[in-house]
Amino acid sequence: MSGKFDIDRMAHLARLRLTDSEKVRLSEQMETIIEYIDHLDRLNTTKVEPTSHAIPLENVFREDEKKQNFPDLDPLSLAPAAKNRHFEVPKII
């Protein structure tokens, strides 16, 4: 199913169920992306400062103050299953 890119493993890690045709299409797209990254990798960046964010902003903070942004929101009402104020999920150990 895969060339350089292991689509089955990636789908498993992302918990995605893909059809065979999706796998083929996504593998091709991912390989194109990886090729492009490989291309960038070959550039000389010794004088370029690493970028961790595209927006040139820094130090955006909140003060440490309690707020209830959604006082009417009952998170449990959004869940497929809940019991005793807890979200109910299949057993996980």
């Binding site: 890690l13 902003l57 130090n59 929101l73 807890h86 979200f87 999920v89």
Partner: protein, 479 residues
């Protein structure tokens, strides 16, 4: 023991903020499940995290108090994995540029000082809490996301500890430092101070480390020591039989006192870290770092050294007294009122700690204030009561909160030191015991103990024994 134990510790510490690291939800412990949640910490699509400035400053304090170098540029990263306690499907943490690196703390084990390196300190968000169903709910797990998004620092040590005692002392010191700086309440029962231990063995003299196991679920200092001891023995047996230790995560079972493999499916973790795109750059300039540095109080180690040099008390006492900041403050308040450090240290480590322990109280809730304790010590100095009586008076002070003077008066406990009262008592005793006087005068001087006993009895224990002894000798030696 032919193997050397190698221990490294990872400690997760909850920062003492009012709100979560990326949203304004409360971090209060013990609220009804899922009450402290909002779309941000529930991981709803489209929400954006905004960093809590106080969390960053607490993390900076933790770094400065452990001599870490603060990275002027920090990044946050996503650690991707699926587990129901992590609703976003990733944890925001710091991988490549953590807030602090290359720190250390000093520990003292058996009077030997040792420096333990701190590899790094990074900020991250906590996950939620899972409860596993029982009986009819056996196939279910239940998720409480109150804790999700609580600010943590993870403090990673170098693998430089060589025994369970060293590990325990490292944790003691680390906890004391964090409490002194006020960055965390370090409450283990509430999960504010959690420890994982990496343990391996290697033959003495061998440089490369052996295969390590990671111990989790170490939720009290006592368990940590026991779990490490158990694990060292388990690995020793494996190596002795010529087998190999398997690298794995093991859980400590405190009921049975054993560690157990977590036996997760042997799938190598692949967290696919990448820079968190929802948070902008975090930079710390010198001005900010220096401003935070000024908030760091005198730390336990400095205090300990100062007590030894300035007050001339033993290293051991100084260690006990500085274990908590409030105890050190109590001690210092006492010394300021009454410059007899060793006597004060004895009282705090002895009777005072004994009462507090029985009562399950901390020293900040002690009903006997420093000034009251000193009031008692001054009564001993003046000879009003004996050291032995003082113990009884102290107990009463602790129970009732009354000052020493009042208790002594009420109970008629004052020691009789004035010579006229004692003179009378002695004369009565001597008049009743002519034979014993003769023995004494014939050279049986040890019989003086008998006289002292009789006088003390007649005074209901309140006569000052030193005065009695002195006066008896004078009288008996007169022809």
């Amino acid at each position: 023991m032919k193997y050397e134990t190698v221990i490294g510790l990872e400690v997760h510490v909850q920062l003492k903020t009012q709100t979560k690291i990326f949203c304004s939800c409360s971090t209060e412990f013990g609220r009804p499940a899922n009450e402290n949640t909002c779309p941000i910490c529930l991981g709803m699509p489209g929400v954006l995290p905004v960093l809590n400035k106080q969390a960053v400053e607490y993390a900076m304090q933790a770094c400065l108090a452990t001599d870490c170098r603060i990275n002027p540029r920090n990044t946050f990263d996503r650690k991707n994995y699926f587990y129901p306690d992590l609703p976003k499907g990733y944890q925001i943490t710091q991988l490549n540029l953590p807030i602090g690196e290359h720190g250390h703390i000093n520990i003292n084990v058996n009077s030997v000082q040792k420096r333990i390196g701190i590899t790094r300190i990074h900020m991250e968000e906590d996950a939620g809490k899972l409860v596993h169903g029982e009986n009819e709910d056996q196939g279910k797990s239940y998720v409480d996301l109150n804790r999700t998004g609580t600010p943590l620092v993870e403090i990673v040590s170098e693998p430089e500890m060589r025994s369970a005692e060293e590990a325990r002392e490292y944790l003691n010191q680390l906890k004391a430092i964090l409490l002194y700086t006020g960055v965390s309440d370090c409450n283990m029962e509430e999960g504010s101070f959690r420890c994982d231990a990496n343990i391996s063995l290697r033959p003495f003299g061998q440089e490369p480390f052996g295969t390590r196991t990671e111990l989790k679920n170490l939720n009290s200092f006592r368990f940590i020591q026991k779990a490490i001891d158990y694990e060292v023995e388990r690995q020793t047996n494996i190596l002795d039989q010529g087998d190999k230790v398997i690298q794995e995560t093991r859980l400590y079972d405190s009921d049975k006192g054993v560690t157990r493999s977590m036996r997760s499916k042997e799938e190598a973790h692949d967290y696919r870290y990448f820079p968190e795109p929802d948070l902008v750059r975090l930079t710390m300039d010198n001005e900010w770092i220096e401003r935070i540095r000024k908030t760091i109080p005198e730390l336990p180690e400095q205090k300990r050294k100062r007590f030894v040099t300035e007050h001339d008390i033993p290293e051991y006492d100084a260690g006990v007294l500085t274990a908590s900041q409030s105890m050190a403050n109590y001690y210092e308040e006492c010394v300021a009122l009454h410059p007899h450090p060793k006597i004060i240290s004895n009282w705090i480590m002895g009777d005072l700690s004994y009462e507090l322990k029985n009562d399950g109280r901390e020293i900040e809730d002690c009903p006997v204030a420093p000034a009251s304790l000193i009031g008692l010590l001054q009564l001993i100095d003046k000879g009003t009561i004996s050291g032995k009586m003082a113990k009884t008076v102290f107990e009463e002070m602790y129970q009732t909160g009354k000052p020493a003077q009042e208790i002594v008066k009420q109970k008629g406990l004052a020691q009789i030191s004035d010579s006229s009262s004692i003179d009378k008592l002695i004369d009565d005793v001597l008049a009743d015991n002519p034979k014993q006087i003769e023995s004494y005068r014939n050279g049986k001087e040890t019989i003086i103990g008998y006289f002292v006993g009789q006088v003390m009895k007649a005074s209901k224990g309140q006569a000052n024994p030193a005065v009695v002894n002195q006066m008896l000798k004078e009288k008996l030696n007169q022809p």
